[in-house]
Amino acid sequence: MTKIRRWGPGLLLVSPSIFLVAVFVYGLIGWNVKVSFSDWRQAQETSGFDTSAYAELFPADTGEVGEFAGAVVTGDQPESLSTDPAWIIDLHHALLFTLVFVLGALLMGAVLAFLLDKGVKGEGFFRAVYLFPMAVSFIAAGVVWRWLMNPAPGNRSTGFNLLFDKLGLDFLRNEWYLGTDWGAAALAIPAVWALSGYIMALYLAGFRGVPEELREAARMDGASEWRVYRHVVFPHLRPVTLSALIILGHISIKVFDLIVAIGGKQLITQTPAVYMWILIYDARDYAKGAAIATLLLVGISVLVVPYLLYTVRSERRV
């Protein structure tokens, strides 16, 4: 068939990539899922089907679900709950981190873009400044942020706490990432620092993508500048916000480098991603590590897959 002659070479050319991704992404994920359902809890690999890893991560029965949810939200685990306490804390941290990170980056990025939208002198400079954190590795950033958020008291204080002291703002002193209640939120600060430039760039492109004629037409119709924004510009930005939420969400679930750089392996800064690393390397609890990885994957898929399908479908419509 001549048709095959036409597109056959193309398929052939991408087949190595298809193969590599099939094996190293989907194949390994499959392996990972398999391990998560095994009883490979210590160095000795066994092959039985076992859900004990998951059992430690989920509430034991429907009765416990409420308590589980409550524990995740508050960070306090009641004695009666049978799940792994470290896991509860991780989830709690992840929740807190995600909320602060996503909202913070979204807000800061959007505000910065809004301020820059009409064009200011030195826009290039400002954009370059806000974006540069993306060029820096999380590890390097972690070095400085760990120091900035150091909670050491008294004459050993450094970083923000020291600055607040010097500026007479002692009431702002706090324990930052080592705080039991809001530690995870503090961890979100460097993450916001790192990503808001990116969100700003997204929103700026979105703002600028609004055809000027639309704004002019609204102005001619008597709309105040604020109204122009509210009724013409912001609706245009919904896809951008959706994009940004998906991207921030998936980064939040995966974030690893930053947590490790600032908090190392301590429980007080631990997130599921870090816990997984610890389980595999230190505790050699492969099944559980794999289970966490699988759950992370499920979380991301729920976010990303509908979004991908939606964008490809709308692409085809165009």
Partner: protein, 294 residues
Amino acid sequence: MSTASATVEPRVRRPRRRRATGAQVLKYAALLFAALVVLLPVYVLLVASFKTGAEAEPSRAWALPDVWSLDAWRQAWNGEQYGLLPFLENSFKLVIPATLISTFLGSLNGFVLSRWRFPGADLVFLFLLFGMFIPYQAVMIPLTQIFIDVDFPEGIPRLVFAHIVYGIPITTLIFRSYYATIPEDLIEAARMDRAGMLRTYWSVVLPVSAPAFVVTAIWQFTSIWNDFLFAVFIVDDPEQWPVTVALNNTTGSFVTPYNVQMAAALIASLPTLVVYILLGRYFMRGLMAGALKG
């Protein structure tokens, strides 16, 4: 041939010519404040890195150095205890082949998936794209196992391979978006001129791909250089660590004086910062290409 519309930076509108109103002043104040906050860590890094060991004391953290010294820099660069130089070498040995190969692969894939399509090309694209979103921790264990099983050369080569494979989604994405802006009739004209697929790629598509190559290469360079996760899982031998892992170990220990820590962080970030300063425009386009997918 102008640059890809999918990766163009927002055009700058000239500021309205009107006298500085209160709103303008507030706007500038806010922008400057934000810039200050963003640059704060840089200030700290720089200031600390130029202090001597003696001055590197918590209570003096925010002050400029009394004595400007390159001692911390020297130690972080090639000092016996904390020197990053050998690790910088490892990073370069990692980044250069990985960037070149993954970029080239992305170009071929992007070309086929946008301009020499086959039935199911869009599905294949989605199939590849999803690879970008997985939590890499999930696959690190079996990956290292495979490396062991096939006796893949240890250390940096494994890392190079991993970055090539996991770089396929993003590089393909960028090129596919870019090549979508090549008019279809250009490819058809080549076909009518009796060019086959590879010929068309080589003679017609590749010559106009420069912008996409630059963008992708810069983005890959930055991502791979800054990566920590892959490196820490895949490279066991400390001598083969890339600079991110070395940095984490240097600075993770509480023994390291913090002026050295800061200098080390700066040194580790230097290549990507240089790239960013010189080629920031292209960097941003890579960034946008990843997001404008959405």
